[in-house]
Symmetry: C2
Amino acid sequence: MASKPTRLHHRNLPLVLLQARERLLSHFRPILNANGITEQQWRIVRVLYEKPSLEPREIVELCRISSPSMAGVLARMQELGLVTRRRVDHDQRRLRVSLTPRARAMAARMVPQIEATYLRIEQQVGEVFSERLVQALDQLLAMLPEYDSRKAAGADLSQAKEAGAAGGVIDVVQ
Amino acid sequence: MASKPTRLHHRNLPLVLLQARERLLSHFRPILNANGITEQQWRIVRVLYEKPSLEPREIVELCRISSPSMAGVLARMQELGLVTRRRVDHDQRRLRVSLTPRARAMAARMVPQIEATYLRIEQQVGEVFSERLVQALDQLLAMLPEYDSRKAAGADLSQAKEAGAAGGVIDVVQ
DNA sequence: ATCTATTTGCTAATCTATTAGCAATGCCAC
DNA sequence: GTGGCATTGCTAATAGATTAGCAAATAGAT
């Protein structure tokens, strides 16, 4: 396939994404530190703040935290009095996680600071740019399927096309 | 300060960036696993593959790996026979890190696979989209300065404007 | 020449990611 | 019902991230 290049001609895109994320996080981290919670804990607080309760596998999906990590994170958060965990009656495997009143109060204090930070960032990079960037990232996620390491042979692009069509994706970043 | 919102109106942009990065990495991870190296190790191999040697602080900067992590990563890579470390004569603090021939050979085997994966991804999301996304992320990095937690008061935007002007940044994502 | 301040790489402690695997529960076909 | 099968949450081991801090070496000012 195309003369086997021995040098890399592409930027390290995952690295650029990492750097962009770190740059952004540097603006939010002081707020998290001031409240004594970690990034992952805040992601969980943030999604639980919108709903009365969620199950661990839902939080795993919403916060992009792996299941093995989630076990430890939730245990520590319970230890800190941020969440409660209780079994679901009709299915003893399952679990429901909720914010404690204390965590909910903390989130209410933090939300305005987080929002203010987003506004300050939009002021620096431009609101339009900011919105289009999010849109572009959403499009990437819609067009590029998760790689399934089990089906190594026989590249199947139908999944990508489905995702693209389903999401109503615009041509490009535009 | 616009009336202290108690709900979040912005998408979690760092989370979206994380998800995009993970989605991309899922396509590269099999290559790394097949060669028995981690993401961070590959980032280091990749930059050292282009140059004869680098110093740890340069690698830290290029690979976005924190200095405390770098110590352990380089120690493990030396243990695995991937890199060599030797002191600089005229400055006993400093260090020069190089790839071993074995690591260089491994990189030469991996580069074509990495390149092929980039091409496959570009095929799925569109080459133009891919290039514009990188461009947009570069613009974000140019416009948004690292937050300096030391200067809390007196927001100074001059740094952002300088960076924007210096980089020859286009209006928006476009 | 000496004293101070910075640079460089490192250790320590805690938390999270990744990979593999496992016990318990529930589902479902038979 | 019962035996296969998937789901749910978990543990264990290793690697990295984050925060704080530290010793040695160097550069700069006096």
